[in-house]
Amino acid sequence: MLKIKNDLWEKIRDGDSSAFEELYDGFAGAMFSLSLEILGDRWEAEEVIQDIFSVLWKKPEAYSPKKGKFTSWLLVLTRNRSIDRYRSRKRRLDRGETDEILQSRPDQSDKDGAEKATVSDEREHLNRAFSNLPPEQRKVLELSYFKGMNQQSIAEFLDISLGTVKSRTRLGIEKLRNSLSNLRI
């Protein structure tokens, strides 16, 4: 599922539609899962994925190998666009805007019927590694990565010092890296 050939971006840049499809088959699910985790809204998450694939086809030069690994870049883009939407929605709600959809959002944290899909070994491993982080480190990473909160806001939210936020972030990342050192993503 996560095995993306290194030359896929070059092929897409050259207009190869089968490479575009190969990327979708291999990686759209991971991008969608991330976006849905952040947004909690299936249609918005689909829109994020649709937008990114549109950009990738129309302006493939938005990526360059200088920007790091292609798949890592795609996930950064997915995360950032999802966070932007999440913040925009939050701003609207904070302003008290009435919207028949926004007002009636039930919590849908764990209801995706599609979760029945087989979890690949690698993703199961990743999920376990993240779940096994000490709760205080996992919380800081969740707030930072999935909710897009800056470190000062996290410090205020959890009532801890900025330095503690930084150290928990660093330690969490290091632990995650160590426990996943054998994985190729």
Partner: protein
Amino acid sequence: METIKQKALDYALGVLPKEDSLLFEALLEENDEARLSLAEAQEDCAKIALSTKPKTLGNEVKQRILEYSQPNLNFDPFLASDPIQSLRNNFLPASARYQGGGGGIPLTDITNAKLQDEINQLYEDLITLSPLVAGNSNAAAGDMTLLKSTLKSMPSFTESVDNLLSRPIDEDKIGVGAQSIHRTLLSSMPSLGFFSDRLNGDSHSMGDVRRLFYLCRDQLKIMRASFDDIDPIRLIEDEKLRLHSAGLLQTKWWGAEHAYFSSQGKVRCGHFFDGPVTERCVEFAEYDANMYCLANLLSPRSSNGEFHLELVKDAVPNCILAIATAETSQAKHGELDQIINGITSPDSSLKNDLVLWNLIEESMTRAHHHTSVADLRSESLFGCHRLENSSYLWFAWPAIENSQDGAVA
């Protein structure tokens, strides 16, 4: 952890203050260690990303996305055609840009109390339905139980539209009142009825839930713009200045299935520009209704079940052109030509189609601050044209000057 590594991680997490971000980006240009650190941080973040529980995308999403890699339709011949050339030569923007509004009446002005009640009930049913098809609903997660039981407890939207259309609407109140009712019943409502019926049956997909979500949202806004007392609190929000981007229309229409009563069609897009189309929800609702009218006119007449919707900016200065095109037979094009260029007493088969076009014409008089439909037609601000085997319908909407990119709906 060294400072560069910490900065790279903060940058990858998006938590670096703006000024520090700019400094780090400058460092990336010249410092290998910074680049390596960023690559490493991005991979660490990718691991967090991939720790999320896997969710699957429906096949219809794949179909939509792969359409990006298909060749776009060539619009150059149409944009070089005589009517568009004429529009280019004649169009002058109004001094004050239209921002929507003025196309509605109070629902209480409708003298037929039963009709008034039925429209109110339609709105309330849609308010009930909307959260059940939202992206965070059970239905969007694959559990249709609540959606289906709710749909079964409501009257069929298709039947409601048929019943309402069978009333002597024109006698109720001529002019704006009739337009408000027609806009409510004939723009997005037929498609909404089709998809809700399908979801109420056994053969449906996740794509139908998504389509119904957009249709409910659009229909509610169209109804608020048509009847300004139906939901005054939400109308206040609709009237606030808020840019709406072409991307909202593209996302909704791209690769969508469209239905106009029993006729179904597949929508293709390709040339949507980036940037705002309208400045307020009430304006967007009117624009949306016009787009649905174009789709409803063309979709049943397509020879191959497909039609294209496009939004083109700058082909005519100060204008955004909404274009709908499909391959049509000469006979079907003849019908469109009749509807758009002159028929005044249509037989019953074309009556609703004439209403659809009249809705666009009336909207154009507001958008261009003009009272004469004939003048607007002669300036090619809207029309119908045939090129080879295809019919083209269009309307020109005043562009937003010095606009930033559009925001969310």
